[in-house]
């Protein structure tokens, strides 16, 4: 599927750190849309082995801020044609996405989101318990009496996709256009002279370049330290798990902020389940029993009949969180150092639009209009993009 380049060249036009979905998508669009093909993507592990392969693959655009809604909706539009574009079946599957509300204040936020969404042309509405029960008869609408479901934000275009294939498709597309993907190549330093990027040190030698795009999620603070940029990012593990496979019974995607859970059923029949962040900073991908227990207990509130179902695997990814739950994208105080970070718990769905807008930003050396609300500057100017109300679960 990929050609493996034998050696690092001494110079590239652009170096991308991180061969996850975001980095590879940026490489793909740099080559396809901007004709920039002297590009190296450096990856210290393997393609798609970070958060691209660790998320729960939910795709939606029912966000809260105008900046967010426009941005994620552009992503959903790209997703819908992406299998054809990459000539690879991404198992893109439109399911319908319910964000459940168990309290009056949650209903109020859902109503707010629905109105913002509709204003920007996104299919999104507030629905009642009857609608939810009709769509998914297996759900216990009272959640065992603990937290009765009062309504939901229903987003019909909500979808899931095969996450690994996204990295492979973008990687192959970039490779075919001349981009080099160097796996097992860690960045150890970035050279900055007079405020400008001049090169990158790696475990396989030094490269001269004037443009570096950093797309490394939970490793971002370690890379920004190399160029002396301070950010508000803090790293917490985000865990997930899958059940044993079963016959298809769950068509939709369900999210409950109050119960801190989200669930969908994959094409393989496994239930893919996630919860909120681990509550304190850890820079590793360890799993905990606490997580499995809490998530399972809440899952049984919603779907009591799952009590005999076994958990097959659990894992964790390192989420780079921002204080306003919006990403950090674009230019930085170091000329030639571009940041695609702060993807916390919401990065997978943005993969196509991130690739597209970051490629444009790198090629034109100015922020794409869709990402101006996500600049690192906002934390100097107190102009935050408050997206916490649209985070999948209360964190």
């Amino acid at each position: 599927m990929f050609t493996t380049p034998t050696e690092l060249k001494s110079e590239y036009d652009v170096v991308i750190i991180g061969a996850g979905g975001h980095g590879l998508a940026a490489a793909y669009y740099l080559a396809r849309d901007h004709g920039i093909t002297r590009v190296a993507v450096l990856e210290k592990g393997y393609i798609g082995g970070g958060n691209t392969g660790r998320n729960t693959t939910i795709i939606r655009s029912n966000y809260l801020t105008p900046e967010g809604v426009k941005f994620y909706d552009a992503s959903v539009n790209l997703w819908q044609d992406l299998s054809e574009d990459l000539d690879l079946n991404l198992f893109y599957s439109t399911r319908g996405h319910f964000t459940l509300a168990h309290t009056d204040s949650a209903v109020r936020t859902m109503r707010w989101r629905a109105e913002v969404n509709k204003h920007y042309g996104v299919d999104s509405e507030l629905v009642g318990p009857d609608f939810i029960k009709r769509a998914c008869p297996s759900i216990d609408i009272s959640c065992g009496g603990h937290a009765p479901i009062l309504g939901a934000l229903y987003h019909a275009p909500g979808a899931i996709a095969r996450h690994d294939a996204v990295a492979w498709g973008y990687g192959r597309g970039a490779c075919n256009r001349g981009v080099e993907i160097h796996q097992q190549t860690a960045v150890t330093g970035i050279e900055v002279k007079a405020g400008k990027v001049t090169g990158v040190h790696t475990t396989r030698g030094t490269i001269a370049t004037s443009k570096v795009l950093c797309a490394v999620a939970g490793f971002t603070p370690r890379v920004t330290d190399m160029v002396g940029i301070r950010t508000p990012l803090y790293i917490h593990p985000l865990q997930a798990m899958v059940s044993e496979p079963m016959k298809p019974w769950l068509d939709q995607i369900f999210v409950s902020g109050s119960l801190h859970i989200y669930i969908s059923q994959s094409a393989r029949g496994e239930l893919v389940m996630g919860a909120s962040l681990d509550p304190y900073e850890v820079h590793s991908t360890r799993s905990t029993l606490d997580f499995t227990e809490t998530l399972s207990a809440h899952m049984l509130d919603m779907f009591p009949f799952l009590s005999h179902v076994k958990v097959n695997r659990q894992w964790s990814g390192m989420a780079d969180m921002t204080p306003d739950f919006a990403p950090i994208m674009g230019m930085t105080p170091v000329e030639g150092f571009y940041l695609d970070a702060g993807w916390g718990t919401w990065g997978f769905k943005a993969t196509p639009v991130c690739g597209k807008t970051m490629a444009w930003t790198v090629a034109n050396n100015q922020p794409h209009e869709l990402i101006t609300g996500f600049s690192l500057d906002r934390f100097r100017n107190y102009s935050l993009t408050g997206e916490k109300g649209a985070a999948s679960v209360g964190h």
Partner: protein, 82 residues
């Protein structure tokens, strides 16, 4: 997590309140220094001193923790650093 008052307790009984930081003087610092204090964090892994609270007993204390290995090295009550 070893609480300095209650001894070793389950981690679920605690809340982490983040790294100990020194506030710049708001009357004399620049706007950039203040914004840096408000928003920016030391996000890289390392051995950090953090505020923790044992919630059932409302005991606030300081923990020195390796955030790469998730290992607590030592804990103490404020002002009583061993």
């Amino acid at each position: 997590m070893p609480c300095p008052v209650n001894g070793l307790r389950a981690i679920s009984e605690f809340i982490c309140w983040g790294e100990m930081r020194v506030s710049p003087n708001p009357d004399t610092c620049t706007d950039d220094e203040w914004a840096d204090y408000v928003f920016n964090r030391n996000g890289s892994p390392g051995i950090k001193r953090e505020w923790w609270c044992h919630t059932p007993s409302n005991t606030w204390f300081i923990a020195e923790r390796d955030t790469l290995e998730d290992r607590v090295l030592r804990t103490w009550l404020p002002g009583a650093e061993p």
